[in-house]
Amino acid sequence: MSIAPTHMATVPGTVTSWYEASARTRIRLLLDPGSFMEFIGPEKREVSPHLKVFDLPEQFDDGIVVGRGTLGGSKVLIAAQEGRFMGGAFGEVHGAKLTGLLRAARDIGSVPVLILFDTGGVRLQEANAGELAIAEIMRAVIEAREAGAKVIGLIGGRAGCYGGGGLIAGCCSGLVVSEQGRIAVSGPEVIETNRGVEEFDSRDRALVWRTMGGKHRRLLGGAEVFVDDTGQAFRDAALMLLGQVGGFELSTLTNEQARLEARLRDFGGCADAVDIWTAQGIADAATIPALPADQFIALADRFGRISHDAR
């Protein structure tokens, strides 16, 4: 076995794809260089108490990295899920780390939280603890926002943002998404299993991407910003969104309710995402899935809706 040590170190900056990067690399790509300080790091070995019961391997950070740092010189709290460890799923410890971070944001009141989602939802081996964690996190997001902390979700990982992750994303002040960053609650296989292949063919990849992918979420108003799949694009978008999102009042929620009701009224009869895009007035809607990111961003800026007063 021949080993060349010079080729082995990970070189920051050369890994630019958000989709391909690990949770720790994404934090490095996003924050100001050298500013990250981890809370409850891997050396604390706060692993899942449930996985050993199932004879499954643990990960020292339980699949989520939390801490603080700076973005453009300003303080932020940050959490990044590792989508390759058990699909980035929420277990008891994984969820508690995010809940604690959000409660810290609530107590401080002025420091925003960035959540780098990459999750299939609740970890089935610790389902009850995971479901409770989702509920606690959703409450903690709302409490942090009430206290004045913005909570921004960044979605572009291999696991997408599904299940309880999709619910938490819906509670955030704003979302950044790339084409790869699918956002939904029930995943393609779950829908097919429950409602049949006529309802949703999970093997039809084009259908999955145009129904749950970032482009559709951006055009529907589910995500505020669409970005290309690079660390720099996510960083720029996070900075922009932190400067844009407004406060959190009762009117924010009533506006969001009105926005969703209008969306259901306008597009509720559409059978496919392409029908929705056509109804939105986009010519050649069928070409959208193949559009390069820069062309799509230009199109979305003309047709998409960014509702600063809703959400």
């Binding site: 082995m8 170190a9 690990s22 050396e43 390759r84 460890f85």
Partner: protein, 104 residues
């Protein structure tokens, strides 16, 4: 799951001053290595928790080869393994040593 604990003397201590580093992820065919500078200068400990049982002799050979090549004195390696092949294990161990070479 199988637990292995491999203790080795080393010729010299590991380069660098970094206290802790982590590399890799626990996924199928992959592993994570947590490395900490917590041992006396001429000792090395590799603790392995692996999902693939019955490969103790392979682990011993891979770790012995790694110790001989890098002489990582003072370092404790804690591994969570998702069934990585020996070449992936060697790569991750080498990456971990490399990360510890930084001054802080």
């Amino acid at each position: 799951m199988e637990n292995l604990s491999l203790h080795h003397p080393t010729r010299q201590s590991a380069v660098g001053a970094k206290k802790m580093a982590i590399v890799g992820v626990v996924a199928s065919g992959n592993l994570e290595v947590l490395v900490e500078r917590v041992l006396p200068d001429h000792e090395c400990l590799v603790e392995i928790r692996t999902a693939a049982e019955g490969f103790g002799e392979v682990w011993k050979a891979v770790v012995a080869d790694f110790i001989e090549r890098y002489s990582p004195g003072g370092l404790k390696f804690s591994i969570n393994d998702g069934g990585a092949r020996p070449d992936a294990v060697s790569l991750r161990l080498a990456q971990a040593v490399r990360l510890m070479e930084e001054e802080q």
